[in-house]
Subunit: 210 residues, 6 copies
């Protein structure tokens, strides 16, 4: 029992695919996704601060870095699950949480258990930092799905992912970082050329106007 | 010009291999390495704090997360370079730095340039957080090379990497987190069985005793 | 609604890894595993018949071919799960079963639903064919783990898998096909040379003698 | 000499690609193809039975499962061969058959040789089960080529494969399972959206009307 | 010190990707690229000879085969480098050359050093053979980028590569092999069908007419 | 009809594996193998020349570069074929040759057909250059199999390949380049450390002494 097992888990996450079976051109590991979400959260945090908002950076980095660590236990199976009712997703959630609990009891030294309980259980709460994490997680999904769209992957799931990401991000439009995102970053992303761009932009404009 | 290009760079790092050609059983991307180093720095930071040291968490996370971002420009070629004098390594370093500078000027909005200059240029300085980053970077290399050793990869380079990591970490043994690492985490890692373990442990004991 | 979705599921199983993260030298998909188990069951069925036992071949092939189809829903996560109590494994089982049920209701035409319910729910029951399936599933695991052992994969998990397979197969030693397996097939498999063979054989002999 | 070598061959088929160099988005192994063909044959057999036809299930499963086992000897080179006259294809066929014969003599115990001769030599004969196998083999090719088409793979070979599959399946339209396939399964498959769908459907309609 | 290290370098080049991160559908190693360039140079040399030009075949093969050997030292990083001024590219060039020099001094026996200095330093000089190499190198890039275009890779970089290749080859149109290439080989390559072909051909016609 | 199809074949060879299923740690394509054999032939040619032998460099490079081009037709299936008598190997050889003939007739312009007939049919004849090619081909196999041995691949096939390579090379010991190889290059290769080295060297010494 010690922290060795926590560190070994980081290597596991390098081998676990995010939303397995979904991404075709570039597959993503949970480790790389966590890195990108933490870096995007950092971008968003900067913008909040430039707009006069106080950011608890320790909380923000901690939340973003650890938000998917528990996927080491049963992988990222919640995303692609088809034929699953809300109840079944809840059961999978429960299994993950109980295994996390067991992991902390078995592997984390007592003096650090409380810290890990916070890190592995709390994430997208309604604090400022929880909100930034929720946005950063969707910004990453937006970039991931956009890469597939730009590379002509015709499966409709990517447009659905993209639209759903835009909608979720928009729900946080009271945040200065979200306004900035839609005003300065998003249009730059959309500059690139791809098949079906005109139709795609029309759908996005509609979503943004809703 | 905006932050879109910075975010696209995160995806690049998901496709750039760390020390290309070195690791055989598990290849590592720069993105996954950055995630692991940030998480290991977090482990070490916890230990420092439990020992009464004040950690500037914002600095620590920021340093760890961004310390290899500039590898998007020419990849991770400094590590495996053979036949290179100190002078040639210096030239590669200069190329990377000049490209980083050019990137910040071209792609980062003026109000954030100073922040990115700090993030992309300063890393393993002699602050507490710089020291923790230096240790975390080597702890990750230690785990990476150990995985190859345990899986019977016979190339001597892994033992050299492992020994060099131990030596570098040991150089920071004034840090409570380093004492804790050698006392609590390292022995647990070494519990696993592998061919040639007895000889290996002897070498390590010698290095630790030096 | 129709059988198209069942056929598309066969392609899914070509992309889902068996015991993800476990096998290093050769990864196995659920589709390939199902093919091998059906072919091994066929070998065992022949032996039973030569020994005067009546085999219901339709049942045998059907059981073997379909025994892991339901892994299309949440992947093969039951095998590698660590930190999971019996209760948690039960919950994962329930999730899989409920999704299978939902799948049959949504996707299979009414006139075939009963057939699919039999195929996707009943497997290793205590019929002759259920027993052969149970043996064939373990024979396949035995060959898979042996390949890793022969190729010097030092992780102890393969020896554990191998021993566990031998033990489970042995539990069916009232079956003529199992006697034949241990007398004619197993010794031929063990002829190949590998590091640590002497120690390995000793352990196996002990398991067989228990 | 024994059945061990037959089982080892199953693992070989997990590593041999089907039509090597042909499929781009998803590569298929001979093992996975055999699994899918057996499962599709099972679907077609069900439909025959519901239509009052007696199916010899043992024969059907056996034929489907083993129909490509002999590809372990020289791989799947007959499909992609260019510049080959009918005569050269015949020579490759002969090589494969002679090696199969040699394999049975060398590796299969005498009491099972006759069974294996039937399994490895007879396949798409003009029995009911041989016809279902011929259809199932093409249905699988149809799904494989359709996946490439849907994912925008522009090489004309996939349309040729798809059309050729439709034509071959159609030649068996006296089978109730083929009528059912074109009436209930095929239209569902074609519901998905993809570039050039209108032109594609026109070609298919023409083929079906011929 | 001896020639063993030169031969080991050939294996390195089998593991080093050409223009890493650029090609999506088919990745190319430096070894395979060198093979193709040497074979294309051979095609061009034949055409020159049929047109009455004397080819120094030893020089031609030698130049083509060895022209990228020095990429074993820092990989193929000069092609994809973004944000790099002419000066920075020059520095990378210098690093590569100094390492090549060091390699020859350390690893090549004295009696062969002069030969290797010629092989590893001189390439696309203004001799006939140097010109053929320059053309062959671009013909290969043209085929590589065309494969991506034909397979619908929408990133504009491939069209840019293709156009730049055509322009560079055209600059050598005083060579009979280049006239032959544009008259006999190029039109055959362009016969294949792909999305956006009409627009593409228009651009190419314009480039050829310039 | 033109040379476009010959150039496209070079890309095919980039995707065809050498001795498929044999090499575990590094897979080799026919394209990369051809590059390495041509480069090794160049090393051997240099040594011959330093020893006063006249080398026809055009012939040497041409033979080495093209010696496996015809594997584009049925892949590299002659090497790994098991259960094949001398007669069956001969039939495969005939198939390959007839397809090569057909290819030249269909795809190569008349004025170049004779050249290609020489390149694609004549190889390891008993000229000086044919002998060097025969040696270079085995030196490459020796390095390939040695890499597997050094990396602990325990399958006996690599030692068999290595020994067979040494024996074949030794059969040409009247060539100065072979003497040089065994005196200067081979010992340097064997300096590296690996499991079972002592036993391995003993076997090799015996082979060399025969």
């Amino acid at each position: 029992m010690g922290l060795n097992e926590f560190i070994l888990g980081l290597t596991n996450l390098e081998k676990i695919n995010r939303a397995p079976g979904f991404f075709k051109f570039t597959e993503h590991t949970v480790a790389a996704h966590s890195y990108r979400v933490a870096s995007i959260a950092q971008v968003l945090g900067d913008i909040e601060e430039v707009n006069g908002i106080d950011v608890d950076w320790k909380m923000l980095y901690e939340k973003a870095l650890n938000h998917d660590y528990t996927e080491r236990f049963i992988g990222d199976i919640k995303t692609p699950v088809k034929y699953a009712s809300r109840e079944l997703r809840g059961m999978l959630q429960t299994v993950e949480e109980k295994m996390t609990d067991e992991f902390i009891n078995q592997e984390i030294p007592r003096e650090f258990q409380e810290i890990y309980r916070r890190r592995l259980f709390e994430g997208k709460d309604d604090s400022l930092e929880g909100e930034i994490l929720a946005v950063a997680d969707k910004v990453d999904l937006l970039y991931e799905s956009f890469e597939e769209i730009v590379k002509n992957n015709p499966e409709p799931v990517y447009k659905e992912m993209f639209v759903e990401s835009v909608q979720t991000i928009k729900a946080y439009s009271h945040r200065p970082s979200v306004s900035y995102f839609f005003k300065e970053i998003f249009p730059e992303l959309l500059k690139v050329d791809f098949y079906g761009k005109a139709d795609f932009l029309e759908v996005i404009d509609q979503v943004l106007a809703e």
